[in-house]
Every structure is written in C-alpha cells, then in structure tokens.
C-alpha cells in the first residue's frame, strides 16, 4: 500500500512528464481515430510544453522535452532531432514570454501562443524541407496548428485545475 501511494505521489507530481512521453509514444492520436472529427486533430505535446514551461517550469524538465521529441521523431518517421528542436524552440519562446511579461493572464498567454507555435512549426518545416525527402500535407498541418491554438484555453483550464488539486492535496 505504501508503495502504491508512493507511485501515485510520483505520478501525480510528474503528470506533465508522463503525459508528454505517453503522447510522444503515440498512444494519444488527438481525435484522429474518430471519423468525421479528425479534422480537429491537434498537437497536445505543444500545449503541454507551453503551459508547463509558462506556469510550472519545475514540473517539466528540458531534458524530458528533448527526449520526448526524439521519441516522437522515431514514431512518426521524421529526421531524428526535428521534433526535439521544434519543442525546444517552443520552450525558448515560452521562456522569453515569461521574462518579458509582468502580469500574465490567460488571454495574453493564449495570444502569445501564436508566435511560439509559428516559430516552432517554422523550424520543423525548414528541417523537413532541407534534411529529408518528405512531402508536406500543408492543409493538415495548418488545421493541426490552428486547433492546437484553439484548444489551448480548454487544456489551460484542465491543467490549472489539476495543479491546484495536487497543491491542495500536498
């Protein structure tokens, strides 16, 4: 029982890392599997990284982000290191936003997610174009980025609620 409680404690305190690895390993396909709503597919990794680097940086190490990116590259078949670099650029912009913002509100965080997503995806496109022979699905990517941005407030609410719950329990 003690061990179970310990596992539960570790999992609840490292939920961001666990989620990031699980999503990168391909267990979560973000609505792709549901017919007719697969258009709403989004990138949950980016939402997790942006939210946790912005609000709870102590919960998500950069090493984990790097490793999750490598795993993601292996699973989806893109050149090794592409997702890592893309996620790290996102982390960099998030860190930068955090430094230059005095009082953060959900709406301002939502808006600043746009340039962070833009630069992160831009790096991804540049690498795919120059370091691989893969063709793009531009529309699918655009939809994916748009819905990643659109769904951010929902996950912001869920993650904030969860973190408050964990804090209260501790």
């Amino acid at each position: 029982m003690n061990l179970l409680n310990r596992v539960k404690y570790i999992l609840s305190n490292n939920i961001a890392v666990v989620m990031l690895y699980v999503v990168s390993l391909g267990a979560f396909e973000s609505l792709k599997e549901i017919p007719d709503v697969n258009i709403f597919s989004f990138n949950l990794q980016m939402i997790i990284i942006y939210f946790y680097i912005l609000k709870f940086p102590e919960s998500l190490g950069l090493g984990h982000i790097f490793l999750a990116g490598i795993i993601n590259d292996v699973v989806i078949g893109t050149p090794l290191g592409t997702s890592s670099l893309s996620y790290l650029i996102l982390s960099f912009f998030t860190n930068y936003m955090k430094q230059v913002t005095l009082r953060s509100k959900m709406t301002s965080e939502w808006i600043t997610f746009i340039p962070a997503l833009f630069f992160s995806n831009l790096i991804f496109f540049i690498i795919i174009n120059n370091f691989s022979h893969l063709s793009f699905y531009y529309i699918e990517l655009l939809q994916n980025t748009f819905f990643t941005f659109l769904f951010f407030p929902i996950f912001h609410f869920i993650f904030s609620y969860y973190q408050t719950m964990v804090k209260d329990n501790a």
Binding site: V22, L25, G26, A27, F28, E29, K32, E33, P57, E58, G61, L62, G63, I65, F66, G69, I70, I71, V74, V75, I76, G77, T78, P79, L80, G81, T82, S84, L85, L88, I89, S91, F92, F93, N95, Y96, K98, Q99, V100, I127, I128, F131, H133, L134, S135, F136, Y137, E140, L141, N144
Partner: protein
C-alpha cells in the same frame, strides 16, 4: 532605445542559458545537441545509422505496448460500427458472390487459354508470386502524422526484410518498405504523398503514375496522356515500368463519389491491415 535592446538581449540570454530549479540542462545546450543529431542523421554516419536502428526497435516496441489501450478502444468502436453495417454488408456480399460465380467460369476459361497460349509461345510458367519469399508480419503501429502515412511491422533485417520490398494486405499492394531495423520495419503506404507507382489502367494501354493523396482512401493519377478521360469502375494495375514491382498487380480502382466526381481509391484500406505479407517475389528483374 539602447535600454530596450539591452532588455531584449537580457531576456533572450536568460531564456537560453538560465537553468531552472530542477533543470539539468540549459536550453542552449539541448538546442545545439538537437542540431548535432539532425546533422549526423542527415550525413548517415554508420555509427548513428546503427544506433538509430536500435533506438527505433526499442521505441517501436514500447510504443506498441503504450498504445494498447488506445487500440482496444479503437477495436471496440470498430466492432460497434461493424455491427450496424453487417446486414447491409451481408446483402452486398450475396450479390457479389452471385456475380463472382458467373465470372469464375470466364476466368477459368481465360486461364486455361492463357496457359495453352504461353506453352505455344514457349514462354514457360511465368508465375509472379514467389510464395517462398513471402514473409508474414504483424502491424505493430499505424501511427499517422502529417508528414508520413506509414505502418510499422514486427519483422526486420533479422527476417531478411530489405528496403524496397512490396507489402500486401488481402492480396493487394498497400505499400513498400522504406526503413529497416533489426526487429522492425516501416512501410510507406501507397496513400502517402511520397508514394509513386507506375501503373496501367484496365482495358487500356494508358500508363500513369499513381500518387498518394495523403488521405486514407484517396489516390491520384498523374502524367496521363492529354485528352484521356478516366472512366469509373476501372481497376488500376502496376505496369512494372519501375523495374521493381511486377506488372499486373491490382492496386486501386476508379469510382464515382456522391457528387458524381471521379475518384480513385485503393482496393483495400491500408490502415485496416493487421497482418501483411512482405515479398520480394514481386521483384521484376
């Protein structure tokens, strides 16, 4: 002006170099490491290639285990959907059986005639499929991404799988091997944008290139002759002009969609494949 520039530089430097409370690495170090990995992966250093194969094998197997609950949910929803369509499907199958019974007699006649003509022309028995070289594999992951429509199978170089081998599901071509590891391989599906197969259209001598459209059941035909109109309900076969796939393998068919627009779809949904056959018996050399 100078102050705001200094602020900007300080913020950037802080974001890049500052390690947080529980951070072991700085962002700058990890970015440099990522760039290094991308470069080494690109120039295909033998050490990196073999390391990548090992990493791939491990990650694919872990990924297969982690996605088991998701697969189970998918399976349950598929069973539910199938249950609702089973009556319609049964009716359609009955009709199809009737039609196939009629066609069978024609086929038998044509087969006999073909064999006797081959004997007369001394062409020998040019059987395409070399059953001995067919390798049965299980799909362990069908992870989709906006960049690559592919499947991962549980057979690799250990089972003599090599790049370029053809992959079949239900006797229909669904893709080719594009990446091999020791225990696993990646199959590029014919529906992927990067897939290009030289084909010929049924009852014509018109050649074209069958290209994936990026959707699970959609294909495009490119490089068709000018003034050629594609008709519905035509089977598209491989032409074998790539010197790689044998001619005459059925790949796709044309059909009219709900808006009366002519579309091309693969003969089987590659994403539904769970057991596949990998073969080099179809090599046309």
């Amino acid at each position: 002006m100078a102050d705001s520039r200094d602020d900007f530089i300080i913020a950037v430097r802080y974001a890049l170099l500052k390690k947080g409370a529980k951070q072991k690495f700085s962002l700058f170090f990890l970015i440099i490491l990522s760039v290094l990995i991308i470069t080494l992966d690109r120039i295909s250093v033998p050490f990196i290639t073999s390391s990548r194969a090992i990493i791939n094998d491990i990650v694919y197997h872990v990924s297969a285990v982690v996605s088991t609950p998701g697969k189970f949910v998918k399976y349950i929803s598929q069973v539910k959907i199938n249950h609702f369509y089973i009556v319609d499907e049964n009716e359609n199958l009955k009709k199809e059986i009737k039609l196939l019974k009629l066609n069978r007699y024609d086929s038998l006649f044509l087969k006999t005639e073909n064999e006797s003509l081959k004997q007369a022309l001394k062409l020998g028995n040019a059987k395409n499929r070399d059953q001995k070289s067919s390798i049965r594999a299980r799909v362990i992951l069908d992870q989709e991404s906006p960049y690559l429509k592919s499947l991962l199978i549980n057979k690799g170089t250990k089972n003599n799988i090599i790049k370029g081998m053809a992959v079949f599901s239900k006797s229909y071509l669904i893709g080719t091997i594009v990446e091999t590891n020791y225990f696993t391989s990646r199959v590029l599906l014919i529906t992927d944008l990067n897939s290009k197969i030289p084909v010929v259209i049924q009852e014509t001598d018109v050649n074209g290139i069958l290209v994936g459209a990026g959707e699970s059941m959609s294909l495009n035909l490119e490089y068709l002759p000018e003034n050629f109109f594609l008709e519905p309900n035509k089977i598209i076969y491989t032409s074998g002009k790539d010197g790689f796939l044998t001619a005459g393998l059925p790949v796709a068919e044309t059909y009219l969609d709900e808006d009366n627009e002519l579309k091309i779809k693969p003969l089987t949904d590659p994403r539904q494949a769970s057991i596949v056959h990998v073969t080099k018996g179809f090599l046309n050399k």
